[in-house]
Symmetry: C2
Subunit: 333 residues, 2 copies
Amino acid sequence: MSLKSLAESMGLSKTTVSRALAGYQDVAPETRERVRLAANKINYRPNPIAQRLTKGATDTVAIVVPSTLQRRYEPLFVDLAASIGSRLAEDEMDLILTSSRPGEPELAVYQRLVDGRRADAVIVVRLRVNDDRVAYLKANKLPFICFGRTDDIAGVAYVDGDGFGGFQAATRHLVSLGHRRFAFLGGPDGTFSSGNRKGGYCSALNESGLSFGPMLEARSDERSGAEMARAALGSKPTALVCATDRIAFGALTAVRDAGLVPGVDVSVIGHDNLPITAYTDPPLSTMELDLADVGIRMAEATLALIAGANPEDHRSIVKVTPIWRASVGPPPA
Amino acid sequence: MSLKSLAESMGLSKTTVSRALAGYQDVAPETRERVRLAANKINYRPNPIAQRLTKGATDTVAIVVPSTLQRRYEPLFVDLAASIGSRLAEDEMDLILTSSRPGEPELAVYQRLVDGRRADAVIVVRLRVNDDRVAYLKANKLPFICFGRTDDIAGVAYVDGDGFGGFQAATRHLVSLGHRRFAFLGGPDGTFSSGNRKGGYCSALNESGLSFGPMLEARSDERSGAEMARAALGSKPTALVCATDRIAFGALTAVRDAGLVPGVDVSVIGHDNLPITAYTDPPLSTMELDLADVGIRMAEATLALIAGANPEDHRSIVKVTPIWRASVGPPPA
DNA sequence: AGCTCGTCTCAAACCGGTTTGGATTCAATG
DNA sequence: CATTGAATCCAAACCGGTTTGAGACGAGCT
């Protein structure tokens, strides 16, 4: 079971057995092979805890579930986490999932991670424009990587979807279909992604000389989507560009409630390509970001950071692809 | 930083400092207090890895993301995991998220956990009637707890939603509304939860002397829900009882595609109370299971198991509450 | 004074690995 | 034959804690 007992049973020292298994050259090839066979036979695996103690590392990366006051519901979070985790596992690293206790501020989780020395690096999601978590981690020199960007990106590594490009392309397409009156329904004010998506939206309207129309911001759930849509419909837009699918779901409801037909009277597009988008009435246009790809990139960047890489060398922007469905059509005549 | 340096800086031995912080009585009260203050001042935290090494435990619980060949999308998984994790954190335990690598059988993940000695206990979700993971964990004596039940529950601990009770109550209600022709759209054949829900459905129909109607089983996603509904509509049911919300979403689409009005011509009910259910057209009736509660129960059971408790003493069934919305109404005249 | 007992403290061993710095053996070299 | 050096192997130290077993000291008792 233990290195010691294995060594004793072979009449060798712990040192030799350890080095044999690690493949060092200063062990006779014949001995190396003998040790390997014996280790294999009893299915020996070095105790990871002991290895970590000597290495002085935890071989662990933490990902923090964003806390929301309400229900946490983050449908795509697992996809991302699972992808990160399975890439990390290839390097014998564990991914731990941490979340704030009820009522506890989110930053407290990061504090626990820092001074409990429970992880070699942290993954931060749902970035805000001005993010205290980023500042805290930077100050405490714990390597971290963001899913999403933030305002002060000096010295930070990130992987992000190209929200700007996605929303720009989508909005251009709506313009080309003939839409002239738009509204943007965004996520929470401070989140970077929502601002970024809004940027792409504005940019496309700008180049066509069209006015931005109402640009609202609230929570990124269905309820808030419905409320924003209700407010926006006052200015008779023919297209609602929504920062997330959940907002778009709410918008669909509001459009119907106003006696209008989504996809005919008012076009709606979201972002995330949740599986259900293909099954709403009408099916929702949306944008897709390959989270498996994002996860792998994040995991690899994390490994590099732990190895001492410069965070600024580990940034990437992943393409966002619009998916057109019946919730978008030409504006009514 | 380390116990040793703290001890030296105070002119005490490691032993005394360690015992003082642990609150042993054989340290002079005055010394104990002095040590506590000094430790506090430099914000000392014992290195968890070192503690684990002596304790011979990993202080870690693993939860395995169920692998599906397709996209993993498990919208409520995070809610459960976050709840488990935050309860475990209160006892200084970490929750690690593991998932199979692409193409790897799910059981391999459990094997890695067992012989890599990376966790003190495992959480198993998405139980199958006949579950090789359960058998494997039992055989290898790694404590585990299931979210859901399985066929051979001897020696296993579980927390599960009362799918039987929920579907029974819901079906009774449909009967009382006047429905007489039903269909059940289930999840994958081998999953316990789907079978259990079907059981509740059958039981309610049985007691009213009604026939079960078509009972289908396939994947629990929207697409498969649509296909099953299409097939079931052949026998002109007035109510579709669906094992999950995602199946129900697909069913709503199929009903509309057949030129029928959901909630008027055909009632539909799902299970999970995904946030979007309140925003479909019509809003979807569903059933709710309090996952925060489930998570806490599971975490506490896990802690007990690790402490050596008998698994069979740690089983609970959590209430499932139907939520009635416009997708359910009386049958057409 | 000699003994016992309680109180407080600490050196050393241990957990299970890795790494350092020899030690031993033997063949090749001068 | 003495030296050098390569090839092997290993004892001991280390990572940072916890626990065991014992020692030092003073008070209380005979």
